[in-house]
């Protein structure tokens, strides 16, 4: 049994990391909820965000945290043509066609990353990634706290956008009944395009945060894709705040798994939980709200 402060530290970093995971999962969740698309290239969007942060720092010296909005914009700009030229032409051809197209894109991007940026493990090197923040016995890296706060703010912002704004009303209508929404004059394809860009931006910003807090490789995407699915399934699809809860629950469980079984088991805990959850309660802990 490890000492109490070790346990406490692990739990708190689990919560903080879980918040960041929730932000990346949100990108996957809104695209799945509104476009009915399993974005198998989601993990690559996340890694692209991490590279964007890395190169922003290297080339311009702008701190990636200050440039988060810029990174989100870049990812949204990358997302737009992907939606316009790869996904829109497949409308009406069934969900598998789009999913496999995104899968094709994912393997292209993964190998482009390797070719362009080499297969090295990278980390965005900032002082606040290593300097710990201490409250008595608890000490966590500053970036965990900063990343958590940024993630929670963005998740709440997206929640308000969807729940309160005019655009959010259109979005919910398009997600529920695309045809009915189109009939009453909602520009469903514009909503879809915007949602896709928003999802890509969330993934990219989350990817930058994770790139500072942890490290990444060109092929990290696949495991984040699965982790994010676990988060969505825990929190319930289409439930924005549920995603935050799901992320934190998963982060804590991963920490407990890593602490009790060994660090290699972190991801395994998430996946087993995900598979178990899918077969027992696919609508998530918090019930169903599409």
């Amino acid at each position: 049994m490890p000492a109490l402060d070790v346990i406490l530290n692990a739990l708190i970093s689990g919560v903080l990391l879980g918040g960041m995971l929730a932000l990346t999962a949100l990108g996957l969740s809104i695209i799945l909820g509104v476009l009915r698309l399993v974005n198998l290239a989601h993990g690559e969007f996340l890694v692209a965000g991490a590279y964007a942060g890395l190169f922003l720092l290297q080339w311009t010296g702008i701190d990636p945290l200050a440039g988060l909005a810029l990174i989100g914009l870049v990812l949204a700009l990358i997302g737009y043509p992907i939606h316009r030229f790869l996904l829109v032409p497949l409308a009406g051809k069934g969900p598998e066609a789009s999913m496999m197209t995104m899968f094709g894109l994912s393997i292209i991007l993964q190998n482009l990353f390797v070719l362009l940026f080499s297969a090295d493990t990278r980390a965005i090197d900032r002082s606040y990634a290593n300097v710990p923040l201490e409250f008595g016995p608890i000490s966590v890296p500053q970036i965990f706290v900063m990343g958590f706060v940024i993630s929670v703010v963005l998740i709440v912002a997206v929640h308000l956008l969807i729940a309160r704004s005019r655009f959010g009303r259109d979005l919910r209508a398009s997600a529920d009944q695309p045809q009915a929404a189109a009939i009453i004059g909602i520009n469903v394809s514009r909503v879809h395009a915007f949602t896709f860009c928003l999802g890509a931006a969330c993934a990219g910003i989350g990817g930058t945060l994770i790139g500072i807090a942890l490290s990444f490789t060109p092929t990290s995407g696949a495991s984040y894709l699965l982790t994010d699915f676990a988060v969505i399934v825990l929190g319930g699809l289409g439930n924005v705040l549920g995603t935050l809860v799901g992320g934190i629950v998963l982060g804590v469980l991963q920490s407990i798994g890593g602490l009790t079984l060994g660090d290699g088991y972190r991801d395994l805990v998430g996946l087993v939980l995900f598979l178990a959850m899918l077969s027992v309660r696919p609508q998530g802990f918090l019930g169903h709200r599409a």
């Binding site: 399993v38 790869l86 032409p89 497949l90 009406g92 051809k93 069934g94 969900p95 598998e96 066609a97 999913m99 496999m100 197209t101 899968f103 094709g104 894109l105 994912s106 393997i107 292209i108 993964q110 190998n111 482009l112 390797v114 070719l115 696949a222 495991s223 894709l225 699965l226 699915f229 676990a230 079984l261 060994g262 290699g264 088991y265 991801d267 395994l268 996946l271 087993v272 995900f274 598979l275 178990a276 899918l278 077969s279 696919p282």
Partner: protein, 328 residues
């Protein structure tokens, strides 16, 4: 799989109607394959082995996705499972290759049955994600649990059969796969399977037991994939989690079937030949090869959802139809 395969039943691109002729052609082909290692240079036997393994995997994937609508990204879970069971039995139980391969097929069936309850609750897209998670979970399990040699993997400790013998095993496996596919796609079962694929609820209402039908297809495919994994492990002589459970084993069969033709009887063979040929041409640039595979997938899904076989069939039909239209 509504849209990618919706053009009613998969038609045969080359229709040789008489069953006797078909059986004779198939038997001759397998006899030639069995004899091939005697005359072929070693390089071609190697390539041939790879091709045979890929055809088996692609046939299994086509059965699931093309005929059953179960788009799986978990081929690697059964492939890796077969590899580990085979090497384990050869090393520790003194099993011969054929016994070990049969056992790995049984292990594949067992895991398919155990996982089916959870996976088949997931319709469509969620099934795909579930299979992807299964593959990743198995890989992490094998890396972390100490019995399997961790990330280093395991070595086969006995003498390995030479490549010519392995080529013959692969031929036998393919013959088995072809037989199973002929039975599964040319019988009442295939009608039930496609009914479940096209509308599971409607099929259920007219009395088709969807779960059993899907499970049967899943079991057959898993057994074939696990045996192929075992055979590949015997050939390599050493296995490790990243190789045996690698995503590539899930991607390649999918790519092959999409290239050849999803739900098309000859899709797996045509696709595998092209895929292996492209792979050999680009052998020095593996990243480029995978990226080109991705581009090919995107283009084919968009412009030729039924793959090369679908294109060929459409061309044949046009040629056949043109003279008739000319008549008044």
């Amino acid at each position: 799989m509504t849209v990618l395969t919706s053009q009613n039943t998969p038609q045969r691109a080359i229709s040789i109607r008489s069953p006797t002729i078909r059986i004779v052609i198939a038997c001759t082909a397998f006899a030639v394959l069995l004899a091939a290692p005697i005359v072929l240079p070693a390089y071609f036997v190697e390539i041939g082995f790879k091709l045979l393994i890929y055809i088996v995997l692609a046939e299994a994937w086509n059965l699931l996705a093309g005929y059953g609508g179960l788009v799986s990204l978990g081929t690697s879970s059964f492939f890796g499972l077969g590899a580990y069971v085979t090497v384990g039995l050869i090393n520790h139980a003194g099993a011969g290759p054929l016994q070990a391969l049969a056992a790995s097929a049984l292990a594949g069936i067992a895991v398919a049955i155990v996982m089916s309850r959870g996976l088949f609750r997931l319709r469509g897209l969620y099934f795909t994600v579930g299979t992807l998670a299964l593959a990743e979970a198995l890989r992490l399990f094998v890396i972390n649990v100490p019995w399997f040699g961790g990330a280093t993997g395991l070595f086969v400790t006995v003498d390995l059969p030479e490549i010519a013998a392995l080529f013959r095993y692969a031929t036998l496996l393919l013959a088995l796969a072809a037989l199973v596919m002929a039975l599964a796609t040319g019988s009442r079962f295939s009608v039930l399977l496609r009914a479940v694929r096209d509308d599971e609820d409607a099929a259920g209402q007219v009395g088709v037991r969807a779960f059993r039908i899907k499970l049967a297809a899943f079991i057959v495919a898993s057994a074939l994939i696990a045996s192929a994994g075992g055979l590949q492990a015997i050939k390599l002589g050493a296995i490790e989690p990243y190789g045996s459970f690698g995503l590539q084993w899930s991607v390649d069969p999918l790519a092959i079937v999409i290239i050849g033709g999803l739900g098309m009887r000859f899709g797996a063979i045509v696709g595998a030949v092209l895929f292996v040929a492209i792979g050999e041409l680009l052998a020095d640039y593996p990243e480029l090869h995978v990226a080109i595979t991705g581009v090919t997938l995107i283009l084919l899904i968009r412009f030729a959802p039924r793959g090369i076989c679908g294109l060929a069939e459409a061309a044949l039909r046009r040629r056949g139809a043109a003279p008739r239209e000319a008549r008044p």
